[in-house]
Amino acid sequence: MDAQFAQTLWITLKLAVSTTVILIIIGLPFSGWLAYTRIKIKPLIEALVSMPMVLPPSVIGYYMLVIYSPRNWFGEWLGQIFNVRLAFSFEGVLIASVIFSLPFMIQPLQNGLRSLPDSLREASYTLGKSKVRTFFKVLLPNIKPSIITAVALTFAHSIGEFGVVLMVGGNMPDETRVASIAIYDEVQSLNFEAANRYALILFLISLILLTTIYSVNKKYDTWKIV
């Protein structure tokens, strides 16, 4: 029981950390592009990024399962070339979780970048600095509160993920069984004591993360762009 408890928490943590790290790598350049692009289909891209916030997780989960299925060209291709099956595997859950948490990473970063005066970016360009250098040396250091918010929200959201994991990963111990699913499972088998332990841990982690965000943002409130 205790080994399984630890294993479930480990998978939960592994999923949340991996999701967050992948989303930092994808999210920084993507939000930088999205904040400043003048492409015509920008509203469509923004809508797609935000879809996971309004769609039921089961919808995303369903589409992920369809794509992963070996009967589909993508699933078949994955199976043939890499001998990978994504449905009901940790990797499959991870991809779904990345997609599902995308808006929680992109939106704070994009809003942070947009709140900076354009002149900062333009000043750096006229001083001869490339877009990449400007992004990392001038823009990102000035949106620290947004970065902290984005990372903490993404992590908290991934830890609490339920619907998508259930659809895509099922409830396989040592593979896809995360804390939120374990709670549901334990309650179903009237094992309230175990459910309580999982629930308390998730509650505390989320509380600590959100308190951190709010206190950090309060500290930066006095900090203004010149």
Partner: protein, 295 residues
């Protein structure tokens, strides 16, 4: 590279607060001068400056810096701001809040050169603030940092967007001197946007007047402004913009509150307690205007 004349022939449709406007500029800017772009707000001054910087793309036309083509709509050439070797000093200064004064200047350098940074810090009286972030600086100090940073880039062309508009009158005079000094020291072609006649008169060697998107007058400040606006009747208050010694007399140029230029002859004894920037009253007694300091 040096002695590069700037050739401008561009058109750009703009949306202003007063509706659409066509910015249409054909002019040549001589090298090494300090040129003022003068005009009402909304006349297209800042847009022209941003077009030169490469931040705004004209609809059509051509910009050449010396023999280098910066923009040519027909050949589809548009050199990005990074490669134009210019510095633009923004109206809001655009200092990087995450960097100290010193780091702001270092960031602008094409190659690291600490002795040059120290030199600039000393030149602008910033040495004691080098470790401070821009948030902790006064308006005048920020302006100095912005100017030092613009020069650290070693630009071929220095663009100043209303550099002194956010400052009070006294600070303005002090910093006008610094801009003039920096221009003389480096001999870099400088274009300054301004709607302050006083500033234009004190600093600029050339003036381009913009009205409703096109250049209406060019020349040195005297040529451009003197014909219509000299006056010397009754009482006018203003500020001393220039004192020129001619043989035994002095010509004092005063700019009134409504941007009228008044030239007054003054004797050495009249000038004892007068200096540039003083608020004065010019009044006419019989035929000769006489000048006296305002309390």
């Amino acid at each position: 590279m040096e002695n590069s004349v700037i050739f401008i022939d561009i058109e750009k449709r703009m949306l202003t607060a007063n509706g659409p406007m066509n910015l249409s500029v054909q002019t040549t800017i001589p090298a090494c001068e300090l040129v003022a772009l003068f005009g009402e707000s909304g006349a297209g001054k800042t847009t022209l400056l941003r077009i030169l910087a490469g931040l705004v793309t004209p609809d059509k036309g051509m910009i050449k810096f010396g023999s280098t083509v910066w923009f040519d709509s027909e050949k589809k050439i548009n050199i990005p701001p990074q490669l134009r070797n210019i510095s633009l000093m923004f109206q809001d200064y655009a200092l990087f809040p995450n960097m100290t004064v010193e780091q702001n200047i270092q960031f602008a350098q094409p190659e690291k050169d600490q002795s040059k940074v120290d030199e600039l810090l000393a030149l602008f009286g910033l040495t004691e603030f080098r470790k401070r972030k821009p948030t902790g600086l006064s308006g005048g100090q920020k302006q100095r940092v912005a100017l030092a940073r613009a020069l650290a880039r070693k630009p071929q062309l220095l663009l100043l967007d209303e550099p002194l508009s956010a400052l009070d009158a006294e600070m303005r005079i002090a910093l006008q001197d610094e801009i003039a000094q920096a221009h003389q020291l480096l001999g870099v072609t400088t274009i300054m946007v301004s709607h302050d006649l006083n500033e234009v008169f004190r600093l600029a060697t050339q003036v381009l007047c913009i009205e409703n998107g096109s250049i209406t007058r060019t020349g040195n400040p005297e040529e451009v402004f003197s014909d219509s606006s000299i006056s010397g009747k009754v009482q006018i208050t203003g500020q001393i913009a220039r004192i020129e010694k001619q043989d035994t007399i002095n010509v004092v140029t005063v700019i009134s509150g409504n941007n009228q230029i008044i030239k007054v002859i003054a004797f050495e004894s009249d000038l004892e307690n007068l200096k540039i920037g003083d608020r004065v009253m010019v009044f006419s007694k019989a035929f000769n205007p006489i000048i006296s300091k305002l309390k």
